[in-house]
């Protein structure tokens, strides 16, 4: 896909996110919208996957460590053909396959259950290590929030990944700058993020997480880097694409009402064209 097509696809993913959260009357739109471009690129361009065969043995894998942005994962998977887009409206409802946080036993295409922050990079390390041990060549992508990296387990996993030279592992930090209680640097600053990963023997790439050219180059660089894992620190905008949600911590975990939903969907028609 060219850049414009990717932008349009990413906005389809965003519409799915907003629709799902609006329908559920709960969920996390802010961080879902900020990571939507990266997830779109991963599932539509980068990864070796087959929506018709979600358990394909040598598939590339994603661990959504910031599992509260499940709507972003579900919408990406639905738009990629793992299950019908209409199913997004069942998000968080009783009996749904689309649980509030990702459940690998329920949803086709979900490679790891997640949601309790800080645990995903460890699981991703296990998958990446397995590929090394068993001689497989799939790649593993762990997606973290910038607030999430306040969790110590992230750094236990980073130490392990660097030590084991897991060059088939990419840790993506969705650096939208906001967490529930406010700006990450006001709550408990994780900065400088890039230097921290460098200190753990990572290849570190800093990008604009909404620029598909930069996203593509970063994943290419990660693929070509041998002997060390890669961290992509992506500067993003929380609530990206929805005018009234952008850069508002209050939209971390709030659903839009009917009126707001209409505005959001209209916003997402315009952007990318």
């Amino acid at each position: 896909m060219n850049e414009l097509e990717l932008q349009k696809k990413a906005n389809d993913v965003r519409k799915g996110i907003v629709t799902a959260v609006h329908s559920a009357k709960a969920g996390h739109p802010g961080g879902s919208l900020s990571v939507a471009d990266i997830m779109t690129y991963l599932y539509f361009e980068e990864m070796n996957i087959d929506p018709a065969n979600p358990k394909m043995e040598n598939r590339d894998r994603v661990v959504l460590s910031k599992g509260h942005v499940a709507p972003a994962l579900y919408s990406t998977l639905a738009n990629r053909g793992y299950f019908p887009v209409e199913e997004l409206e069942t998000l968080r409802k009783l009996g749904t396959r689309l649980q509030g946080h990702p459940c690998m036993q329920e949803t086709p295409g979900v490679d790891m259950s997640s949601g309790s922050l800080g645990q995903g990079v460890s699981a991703a390390c296990g998958m990446a290590l397995s590929a090394k041990l068993l001689g497989n060549d799939y790649r593993v992508y762990a997606i973290c929030g910038d607030g999430e990296i306040q969790e110590g387990q992230i750094w236990e996993a980073a130490m392990f990944a660097g030590h084991r030279k897991l060059d088939n592992l990419v840790v993506i930090v969705d650096n939208n700058g906001l967490q529930i209680d406010g700006k990450i640097e006001d709550v408990c600053s994780p900065y400088p993020i890039a230097d921290k990963f460098k200190a753990f023997n990572f290849n570190v790439i800093e990008i604009d997480g909404h620029d598909f050219k930069q996203i593509a180059d970063a994943f290419k660089c990660a693929r070509e880097t041998k002997g060390m894992p890669t961290a992509i620190v992506a500067k993003t905008t929380k609530g990206k694409g929805v005018s009234f949600m952008e850069n508002q911590a209050s939209w971390h975990g709030t659903a839009p009402n009917d009126e707001q939903y209409a505005v959001a969907m209209a916003d997402l028609e315009r952007i990318g064209k």
Binding site: M112, S116, S122, A123, M127, L129, L133, Q153, E156, A157
Partner: protein, 313 residues
Amino acid sequence: MADTVKIATRESYGNALVEVGKLNDKIYVLDADLAGATKTGTFKKAFPERHIDCGIAEANMVGIAAGLSTTGIIPFCSSFAMFAAGRAFEQVRNSVGYPHLNVKIGATHAGVTVGEDGATHQCNEDIALMRTIPGMVVIVPSDDIEAKAAVKAAAEYVGPVYMRFGRSAVPVINDNADYKFEIGKGICLKEGKDVTIIATGVCVCEALAAAEALAKDGIDAEVINIHTIKPLDKDLVLASAKKTGKVVTVEEHSVIGGLGSAVADVLAETGVATIKKIGVQDVFGESGTAGQLLHKFKLDAEGITEGVKEFLK
């Protein structure tokens, strides 16, 4: 029991891992800098390429095990009970239990028989923590033979299993030809009619000795070995409880949430017997030898005998 062979179940764990490792090349062992103490060093020596030392980071180790298991590897995660079940509880719950992954947790140095290290390392809470996780199998072997059988059964079972091993040597009590280990099936070691003693782990041999002492005072005790706390062998517990009407549970674990609580749940639902729970009575442990501590906490044969007599008064 001077001439009885004594082996710590952590030794059995290490030895059994080598045996199951020979049969299945998907078995890997993970450690958090304690391979010497957990006895997984034995496996490391036999299969260095299948041993993964994660360093002193138990939460991460459990997460790595979860990730490995999604790819068909069968990881045995090893650490002290305090860290495997305590430190990493939430990782075990959310990264292993919730997705029902095929991860085995080998927790050594459980209970007060850790001894001299004292309260910080004497985990009397792990059974309680692990049995609250839906789908988790919880096994507490009583001796070398049972521990090895448990490891083999865990390797063959598909799903999460928590195994609890001890630091101190315990007598081998299951060395008989018809011994059979089956997950979820308790074993009646001695039939009796006056009281049922249900024990687990290192306390099983103490319970047997207590039954002998009680017999001298004319008390005919039934002794049941519950090696699988979850799923609990309710049929065996209820059948014996109905027969004797009096149940005493014995465990090297807090009386809150362990074997005693599991048995009490069953009895409370049916009302067929009264129960006394012998165990660590809501206190922390302390330094001392394993034997001194078993005595202090009334978990040795003498303490159990005394406890049963009081209960039957």
